[in-house]
Amino acid sequence: MVRQELQKLAVYAFFLAILLIPMLGFRSASFEPDRALKIWGVFVGILILNFIVKAVRGGRAAVEAHKEPWTERTRERISRIPRLYTIGGLALLAAVYPLMANNYMIDVGITCLIYVSLGLGLNIVVGLCGLLDLGYIAFYAVGAYTYSLLNLTFGVSFWAALPMGVVLGMVCGCIIGYPTLKMRGDYLAIVTLGFGEIVRLVLNNWDSLTAGPNGLFGMKRPTLYYPSFADGGFSWVAYYLKSLPALYYLILIIVVLTIVGVRRLDNSRIGRAWIAIREDETAAELSGVPTTWNKLLAYALGAAFASVAGAFFAAKLSYTNPNFFLFMESCIVLCIVVLGGVGSIPGIVVAGFVLIAVPEIFRGLENYRMLAFGAIMTIMMVVKPEGLIPASRRKRELHATDPHPHEESDGRDR
């Protein structure tokens, strides 16, 4: 057993050397092996560590087989705290955060919240309905540009533009959703990716409308109106939400509304229909779930949430440009959903903060951010496909392996 593992280790180390040394050792034509060997060492170190852990665990496996892993125990402990306390505590923390933090920290908080709301929206499409959408950021762009254009050309206010952005986002969601309804997962992924790129290219190339790569700027901030009786008469006074704390509270409200909305959807008839479609579309269809309508609805609602986030983003920065909406952004949002746990609302909130705030703290390692995101995505899928905080239903379904062997559900020959 140990011998076999050691052999495997040697083979892996050998192939890692083959793969890493040419790519890392040659930046120009000259060979500089230091860096390559260092990184190779790190990888092999991880492998050896893994080997040792396995060997130690193998020895103890018999003793510890009945014990639950520590993650399970922690989760157990957390779930024993009354729900009201955890949610209330988090809400309080979120509410007082701007009072304690400096502007930079508030700004990071706003970014986190934007991504959380994007993650929650994508969760509807990917997590609940099981449709892999790689062009999700396009709907974010639709929201941002709708507000920018309406505000700049017609002076429409944020609040009036928001529903228009939502409607337009939903229409776009249906436009992309309709042709892809019949497709299976991987086709869908590529088509949505293509669609996302089309939106970006259109924004980039349609100079007369979107100002191309220069972007649009000068949008008004969202306003609040309060009545004033200052000079005897009655009038409405506009208050521009300019300061960071004000914007923070606005996005916080948006996120809370999104959470409530997604939760309600998740537990509704529609949510159950989505989950049925995710698990087995044919069976769902045969059981009388209107799959076409529900898939379109998932796209439209996911797009609507992204559109709201986009409008907020444009209003906050007073600036948009097509390069905010690269494919990588879609990947970041997807990574949030994957890390948090597909279909799990608390998981996505936590993952959104972890994935956006942690790279801010380690600014020096910024270049490694996407590398880590890619690795996280693969590792999560291989090791823990249900995510950090799994949705209860999904967890049962993914870990029903041993007592009841999980049948292949897509009905194809494997």
């Binding site: 590529i190 293509g194 089309i198 290219l201 590398l371 890619g374």
Partner: protein
């Protein structure tokens, strides 16, 4: 330049570009035929091939081999790039696909996507953000046929692409391994019962497909004179459009699809605003998927084969 010459010129460009797309599309199609999953990391494998190509070629150029042993240099460059990417392809399969072979499609797609992001950023960090210049080994000499100029490099690349495709066709249809691949693609359970080593067959598919992509990567580098860490993305989408257009799972389909996408793109860029040419490819992709998802030469979806 008169109209015939212009058309001929564009035709040559289209065939050139199309054969590159076809080579990349073959990688998709083969992998899809075997495991019915898209290899999301294919674009990055293609880029890795281009990088290994530039590394080897620069080293050989410094050693003066380009002048003294021109053909040998090309063989080494293509050989090493393809071999490296074949190993990388197997590594991708081992890390991102194999553990998930019995999970849901969504999991496998996400893990492959993660791999793609990881590789593309790994290459960005190791090879830099800016373009890497390819040594120009073919020179600018061109042959003129009816007013259309064809460079030596273009001729070489087209011939090599055709040779690789013919070799692949022979491999798939004439060898035992090729037969095993076709059998696995048709019915995996049955193939396993008949004693075919499924794991090995999948591994070999993940060697050959990416190796063809790597050859395409070196070709792109040689012709356009530069490589960049993110160039795989756009080629990936176009090659994917080609694979879908031809019918995914079908090798002749991938070749035909590559050619058609090449013609569409070159035609668009020649006569219409070229800023929109990528939009056209995406639109073609979406239209094909909507109107005829089985593609031009594809079987009905239940009967996909290599």
């Amino acid at each position: 330049m008169d109209l015939t010459a212009l058309l001929l010129q564009q035709m040559v460009n289209a065939i050139f570009l199309g054969s590159i797309y076809a080579l990349i599309a073959l990688g998709y199609t083969m992998v899809y035929g075997i495991i019915e999953l898209i290899n999301f990391a294919h674009g990055e494998l293609f880029t890795a091939g281009a990088f290994i190509g530039v590394i080897v070629l620069s080293a050989l150029q410094q050693a003066g081999w380009v002048e003294s042993h021109f053909v040998l240099t090309l063989i080494i460059v293509f050989g090493l790039a393809m071999a490296y990417v074949a190993v990388l392809g197997v590594a991708v399969e081992h890390v991102a696909y194999k553990p998930l072979r019995n999970s849901s499609r969504l999991s496998a797609l996400l893990s492959a996507l993660g791999m793609s992001i990881f590789l593309s950023n790994g290459m960005m960090l190791s090879q830099g953000v800016s373009d890497r210049a390819y040594p120009q080994v073919f020179g600018l000499q061109a042959i003129e046929i009816l007013g259309a100029r064809i460079t030596k490099g273009q001729i070489f690349i087209i011939l090599l692409a055709i040779a690789l495709m013919v070799a692949l066709q022979l491999f798939v249809h004439r060898t035992r391994l090729g037969k095993a691949m076709r059998a696995t693609a048709q019915n995996r359970t049955m193939a396993r019962m008949l004693g075919i080593d499924i794991d090995q067959t999948i591994r070999i598919t993940f060697m050959i497909g990416p190796a063809l992509g790597a050859a395409a990567g070196v070709m792109v580098g040689l012709f356009y004179g530069a490589v960049r860490f993110d160039m795989g993305f756009i080629f990936m989408i176009k090659a994917f459009a080609a694979a879908i257009l031809g019918g995914i799972g079908s090798i002749p389909g991938a070749m035909l699809g590559g050619l058609i996408i090449g013609v569409i793109e070159v035609g668009w860029a020649a006569f219409l605003p070229s800023a929109w040419k990528d939009v056209t490819t995406f639109t073609v992709l979406i239209l094909v998927l909507y109107l005829k998802p089985s593609g031009l030469l594809g079987e009905s979806v239940s009967e996909v084969r290599v």
